[in-house]
Symmetry: C2
Subunit: 205 residues, 2 copies
Amino acid sequence: MINEYPSALLEKAVTEFSHLPGIGRKTALRLVLYMLRQDTEAIDQFANAITTLCHEVKHCHRCHNISDSDLCPICGNPRRDQKTICVVENIQDVMAIEHTQQYQGLYHVLGGVISPMDGVGPADLEIDSLVERVKEDGISEVILALSPTMEGDTTNFYIFRKLSAYPDVTISVIARGIAVGDELEYADEVTLGRSILNRTLFEGK
Amino acid sequence: MINEYPSALLEKAVTEFSHLPGIGRKTALRLVLYMLRQDTEAIDQFANAITTLCHEVKHCHRCHNISDSDLCPICGNPRRDQKTICVVENIQDVMAIEHTQQYQGLYHVLGGVISPMDGVGPADLEIDSLVERVKEDGISEVILALSPTMEGDTTNFYIFRKLSAYPDVTISVIARGIAVGDELEYADEVTLGRSILNRTLFEGK
């Protein structure tokens, strides 16, 4: 078998790129050859942005969101509701909820959901630190905003049980229902059923 | 508008990744967050592989293929047929042909095809250096292996005219026809027409 790559350096770069999720060796080669056509300054900037991020990034010691400092901009913002915590799976979920501009409370990033199949148990997640925050910070409401999967529901239930020791704290779950813009007839039965059970008052103005 | 990213370092890395072809901001974020979960050693290795490649890679001064030295392993291999040149558009094409293990000659990487729409003229490609090689190195055959597009055909024709000054050199084009494994009825007319015109003797053994 002849060596596929004309250059060992090229092969190494392709191998590194192909370790990324969803990127095979063909795509990796395409990306690397694209980078080769850029000037070296742009490449140094690219490499630098990634190494700097990985060496210097911190996690907020309160909500475990990614942050440039020990306290993230959300936790550090005094105008946000300090009594409400929204529990999410990961950083992308924080960004998605922030993007709606409908939430003014704080977050708590679990870092995953309980999934015995993937070997993820409660101890691997930031659940104890959530309970600690509820206990220490006088939280009045915990909103569970995990994905409506079996793992998400399991995690919801686990957190619900852990927090039942604090009866003053309201525990809510984000609404399940027909997505805005969706056709009713194509919605699955469970979602449609829940959307009827959890109907809200019509605000006709 | 609230800042979308919880960390400026994260945003910078995402921006850098999203400059790559076919990678949008969502994919870029996914890739960067994946990298964040790796240990810093792996990240340094990744960044290092790319910067080393871009700073140290060379192009073979004969065929313009990527190489670790001034002469690529193919041009430098004395067992390869030094009298035949296969003209290809880019480095991937060299790798594809090498992969077939059916070709023992040398290559010439043009670096593109003539495309007035994209502002690529003959002077932007390694055509003059090809003519130089044909003149100097006593080449007996030039195989044109460009894509069967309008741009590829234009480039073929341009090279053919340039090389007509050397009547001793055979100029051939890779065969167009029905791909192995393809259904005849789904082949386009032009391809099927050419495959009939350019039929070869049946080697029934």
